[in-house]
């Protein structure tokens, strides 16, 4: 059997983390290839439902990342996002959706090395947790159950 390769989706803001991830590349820092990056104007724009959609489509882990506090391109988008993450995380935890599979981080445009580290440690953590079968069972319910 081949080793489990986690599928990770990263929702990142355009101004800091996306640029940071770019820097990781241009600095030729190698990091895990498991991540698919989706760029948003701002962390404030990342709707919480997108995270569930990612799990629904088969993601094993999620990274959400944006500008450090006080560095938001739009002044306060990340502050709003932070409040939302706090609430969302609590709700998911209550529902038994595995919050260990969602890594939040602040990665600036200058932190190419930090991005590589965030991705690598997340991939390692998710690899240990294994595939997210609990959620996949629910998401693929219709395919399994011939008729409901």
């Amino acid at each position: 059997m081949t080793e489990f390769e986690p599928k990770i989706v990263a929702f990142v803001c355009n101004w800091c983390t996306y640029a940071g991830a770019d820097l990781t590349g241009t600095s030729r820092i190698k990091y895990a290839q498991n991540v698919k990056i989706i760029r948003f104007p701002c962390t404030g724009r990342i709707d919480f439902m997108l995270l569930l959609k990612a799990f629904g489509e088969g993601a094993d882990g999620i990274i959400v990342s944006g500008c450090h506090p006080n560095d938001c391109h739009y002044t306060s988008g990340n502050f709003h996002a932070r409040r939302r993450w706090i609430m969302f995380r609590g709700l998911l935890d209550l529902l038994g959706i595995d919050v260990r599979r969602i890594q939040y981080s602040w990665v600036s445009a200058a932190e190419g090395a930090k991005w590589a580290d965030v991705v690598n440690t997340t991939v390692t953590a998710i690899r240990e947790l294994g595939p997210y079968t609990d959620y996949a069972k629910v998401a693929n319910y219709l395919e399994k159950e011939a008729n409901v």
Partner: protein, 266 residues
């Protein structure tokens, strides 16, 4: 009670309001929302412990608005909802007359939203100990078991959206579930559709819910969805301090503090 009836009568007689929204006799031993437009009908009004439906939900319904300016019988949960609606700019003081009902069933009139807030200061939202215990019990389960617990609880949901319909704060003319470009939440009721719907509903009430339990009371399947909003209320309090609607203050998730603390962001 008599006080309330007299007041309602005089409001209709003087044409100060065109409709009184209150509680009346329902089927079996239930009470129900009634809409009185004639002074002589006001004797139908009653108030007792069975009157749990949150009448504030009718304040934003276009069929009811159509009847004219309302007076509304408002026990504490309704007062909280009215205040929250005011905070969200859905109501103006001149829009309605509030016939407050104290826990001792006394009529209290309010001339401003500020007065409601002042009154409610003595009645802060408090999560019942038994619910706290249930929430703690759920939180103590291993994550997989917790997930299985909720999937099983949500399974009977057939998406009648009674929870949404009964909630005074679900007043959006077009709900996210009705958005189909893209289809944000599956319209069908199946495990994923149910889970996503309830996550969405709870999140959209985060920091707004005033804990009236209308959603739970409305659910024909008796799904404990109020535990989600109650738990979030606890979270709001834990992270952002005591919570309650307050005139001139923004909702928890529409505002921020640069010093908000968390422990999970790298």
């Amino acid at each position: 009670m008599n006080e309330l009836i007299q007041k309602a009568k005089s409001l209709l007689e003087s044409d100060t309001v065109q409709v009184v929204i209150g509680y009346g006799k329902g089927s079996a031993d239930k009470t129900r929302a009634i809409f009185l437009t004639k002074p002589e009908d006001c004797d139908q009004l009653l108030f007792d412990s069975r009157c749990v439906q949150n009448l504030a939900v009718y304040l934003t319904k276009h069929e009811i608005k159509h009847l004219g300016k309302p007076a509304i019988v408002a026990p504490i949960p309704v007062l909280r909802s009215i205040l929250q609606l005011a905070v969200e700019n859905q109501l103006k003081e001149s829009d309605l007359v509030i016939l407050g009902v104290s826990p001792e069933s006394k009529l209290i009139e309010f001339d401003s939203f500020g007065a409601i807030e002042l009154f409610l200061n003595a009645y802060k939202i408090q999560i019942d100990e038994k619910y706290k215990a249930t929430i703690d019990k759920i939180k103590a389960m291993p994550v997989s078991e917790r997930f299985a617990f909720w999937i099983k609880e949500l399974e009977p949901c057939f998406k009648c959206y009674a929870c949404r319909a009964a909630c005074p704060l679900c007043y959006c003319p077009k709900c996210t579930v009705e958005n189909n470009q893209p289809q944000w939440i599956p319209a069908a009721s199946h495990l994923l559709g149910n889970l996503e719907w309830h996550v969405m509903r709870a999140m959209h009430l985060a920091g707004r819910c005033t804990d009236c339990e209308a959603c739970y009371n409305a659910c024909p399947m008796g799904i404990p969805i109020h535990l989600l909003t109650k738990s979030m209320l606890q979270d709001v309090e834990e992270h952002f301090g005591p919570y309650g609607p307050s005139v001139g203050k923004r909702n928890t998730l529409s505002s921020f503090n640069p010093d908000d603390k968390e422990s999970f962001i790298r």
